[in-house]
Symmetry: D2
Subunit: 124 residues, 4 copies
């Protein structure tokens, strides 16, 4: 148990504030309109995809946990996370709320029984 | 001020747990190796890019805040967030830590003074 | 053997001309600056990735040749091709020349002997 | 006017053959299943997106034609083209036919009059 301030104690709020400061200190808000940030997000996601392109499915877990790869991959994923958080902050949407809202939609679109073992949306 | 349990009170930990349950209840771990989750992430990022492809830079802030677009965009960003969280959980990396670690790297690569107003990495 | 005019007889030149007409007839040049076309390209590539995200490597050949999937996949790849051709046409670069130039670069970066069986660029 | 053999004289057929030889000489067919090639395509498209992320729409034409940028961009687009051609060759689909087929679909989905000046699919 820990006593925390509702806002400052939230790890996510803290990192978003730090990202915002990082951008402001470099006068980068001018480049960070939503369109550009989505383009940055896509390019960072592409770099993460580059890491896995030649790794077979059945080796991709062990490959990801190899210390030689792990830090590099976490770094690429961190880039994706930065772009996503900056984008959401720019349009005024909270990360966890966006994820939670979509999860609730997915509960409807992928009902537990019929979707069992079937990762694609069911056609009705 | 609020009293919270260190783990359960963390909004991010809570949503990751919920995502994990959602996947387990549908027996989808078999599809969710790191390679496939990165591929899912890239395709969700592509859907977000589709939203912005014809929106000009200088209209993209107001366009994003239009209620007609906002919820749809938050939904696409939520999909990206879900894929990213599931990927990081699968490889055992914490989202905020990955973002924080990369932010620290960026502080070195983009020093405040020289990078002011210049969004590209400086060539040295 | 066939006698063809160098330009009009080229299948690629013909399809680029048709794409150009298609765009002009709809007054879409205003949306088709290079940035937007790259964003369109990325989103179409993401749709193609969506098709393969849950298909395991060792099933992806047979899955691609299944008539149920083949036409849909060819359609997604066609979308990627359209975006790429429109982009290259807009910046005044020929598709085959761009591919040929990069192939020559790759011959240097991936020398035949040392790169045998190794798909990643060699670190020297 | 030029006398060419229908197949060997086609620039596209020639480059696809050269790409095929390049892959075979390095024993890379083992890595080039359709899933991996799509992942390569997406990562190359992401690199192209990285080039344009901070370039505003209204500067993107002149920026693309700047000799300093042009060759680098053509190279990135060449990478996308290589991945796309290798993918299509692997699944046995001709590039121009895939583009042509999709263009015909687009003629139906984006009728000339109603789609004039409107780049998004019409909702009916």
């Amino acid at each position: 148990m820990k006593i925390v301030d509702d806002t400052s104690g939230d790890r996510l709020t803290a990192i978003v504030n730090d990202l915002r400061d990082f951008v402001r200190e470099r006068d980068w808000e001018q480049f960070h309109d939503p369109k550009n940030l989505v383009m940055a997000l896509v390019s960072e996601a592409g770099e993460l995809a580059a890491e896995y392109r030649w790794v077979p499915n059945d080796a991709s877990d062990s490959w990801s946990h190899d210390p030689d790869n792990r830090e590099r991959i976490a770094g690429e994923a961190g880039d994706v996370g930065i772009a996503l958080l900056l984008f959401l902050d720019r349009i005024g949407v909270d990360f966890v709320e966006a994820v939670r809202a979509k999860l609730e939609v997915n509960r409807v679109n992928y009902p537990q029984g019929p979707s069992r073992g079937k990762p694609d949306r069911l056609r009705t």
